[in-house]
């Protein structure tokens, strides 16, 4: 349902682009109305009271007016800006990756509170636990779940038989796990180790606080990362831009851990 003429919303800023002489066109993911695009008048003037309120990864309470083509922000109050997440390159890059995926999976004018809560919870966890890489893996899986693209992890997606231990493969486009007997025509099929399947199932039902018990071997983490990444890319259906910066950072010599 489209929002009324003037309305209030709480939203996470996903991105902004310069608009007109001194305005910003802001993309937000709101708790109440899903993805929104709105113009923040004068937000690029240094003397503006709202300068900086529309940086990506800022949570704000907004009061908006519906325009003919674009909504206008009347008032804004920042409630969270994840400042320590933003003061480290790696956590910032991860946060922007979250924003890009929420932008890609979220739809306009359709509320999905589960997705909103997942985004906010994930950003908080990236900020609080910079060393927990699995936060991103959990986010990817739960993002697919919240958007209706949760991969099947218990049955063969083709013949529907429950999976036998150690006899399965994975296909993002077929919708999840496959048994060894099934090979639907024309879909991408990947191997899937039993251990990786277990990690995926655990991620599926874990809360963020449970993640430290799930720390896996480097090679296993890589397998899970690559499986989830093929599934995410398949549903995203366009290039994930923040990936190249994340990969670039991984190749840099590690920074000394800051406090």
């Amino acid at each position: 349902m489209p929002p009324p003429k003037t309305y209030r919303a709480e939203g996470l800023v996903l991105k902004n682009i310069p608009f007109g002489e001194a305005d910003l066109l802001v993309t937000l993911y709101s708790r109440e109305f899903g993805k929104l695009k709105a113009v923040a008048k004068g937000a690029r003037r240094s003397n503006s009271k709202i300068v900086g309120h529309f940086e990506p990864l800022t949570v704000a309470k907004l009061s908006m007016a519906r325009g003919r083509t674009l909504d206008i922000v009347n008032q804004v109050e920042v409630t969270e800006n994840f400042s320590s997440l933003k003061s480290d390159l790696t956590t910032l890059a991860r946060g922007l990756y979250v924003a890009e995926l929420v932008d890609g999976f979220g739809s306009e004018a359709s509320s999905n509170q589960q997705l909103y809560d997942l985004a906010i919870e994930t950003l908080g966890a990236i900020q609080q636990h910079p060393s927990w890489e699995l936060v991103l893996r959990r986010f990817e899986l739960h993002l697919m779940r919240a958007s209706g693209f949760m991969p099947e992890l218990f049955h063969c997606v083709d013949c529907r038989k429950p999976l036998e231990p150690e006899q399965h493969r994975f296909s993002p486009d077929a919708g999840g796990t496959l048994c060894l007997d099934c090979a639907p025509y024309g879909v991408q099929i990947r191997s899937l180790s039993l251990r990786a399947l277990k990690v995926l199932r655990l991620l599926h039902r874990s809360r963020i606080a449970d993640l430290p018990q799930l720390q896996a071997h480097e090679s296993l983490e890589q397998e899970v990362k690559s499986l989830l990444s093929t599934a995410i890319s398949y549903w995203m259906d366009k290039e994930i831009r923040t990936n190249s910066f994340l990969n670039h950072l991984e190749r840099l010599p590690k920074a000394e851990v800051s406090s």
């Binding site: 503006s48 900086g52 309120h53 529309f54």
Partner: protein, 204 residues
């Protein structure tokens, strides 16, 4: 984008309107106004404008030292023997050099990145003039690198990236003071704010 309410606009006029409409911040109405303004200009002034555009496109190159736009390489700042070689100030674009020069409080050299790291737009360090910055620092007697990117998320990301790269190098890395509002830009800041931010710079 449309010139339909000008059904009889002569083709050359329509073309001018169309070209002006492509400029940033110029909508179809302003494009029309500008076009009619140009038509009313004395020939000489209109040709001056056309010639200035063509000269800019023919003569402007990147200064091989600081990467600023210039028609003499090295640029006048890099070529000026009065300027200290011990400081380099890193800025996002050429307009920031102009803004800082207006404060008259800086006498070192610059390095122009021509953009900022913007992961959401797929712009990484490779697409900026950063690959020219690091070798430049290795080969000179620079003592202080002043990072003066805009206080936006992307400007900060760029600053953090540079600092991380220079960890352990024998160069003091400083950052403009927080007097500048977050999300603002150097280009739009007044000279007093800017020179205060400059004088109060802190080690990164």
């Amino acid at each position: 984008m449309t010139t339909e309410h000008l059904p009889s606009a002569a083709p050359s006029l329509a073309r001018l309107i169309q070209e002006l409409n492509k400029l940033p911040g110029v909508g179809p109405k302003s494009a029309q106004r500008l076009a009619y303004y140009i038509i009313r200009l004395p020939n000489e002034e209109a040709f001056d404008l056309a010639e200035a555009i063509s000269a800019v496109k023919h003569n402007i190159v990147f200064c091989q030292e600081c990467q600023n736009l210039t028609d003499a390489d090295p640029c006048t700042i890099c070529a000026n023997p009065q300027r200290t070689r011990e400081q380099i100030c890193v800025v996002e674009d050429p307009l920031d050099v102009l803004a800082l020069e207006r404060t008259h409080c800086y006498h070192g050299l610059y390095h122009v990145l021509h953009g900022v790291i913007s992961p959401l737009n797929g712009i990484g360090p490779e697409q900026l003039k950063l690959k020219e910055l690091f070798p430049r620092l290795a080969n000179t007697d620079v003592k202080e690198l002043i990072i003066a990117t805009n206080p936006t998320l992307e400007g900060e990301a760029t600053a953090m990236y540079i600092s991380r790269h220079l960890q352990g190098a024998n160069i003091k890395v400083t950052h403009l003071a927080r007097g500048l509002p977050v999300g603002g830009s150097l280009e739009y800041s007044d000279e007093l704010t800017l020179s205060r931010a400059f004088q109060g710079r802190q080690e990164a």
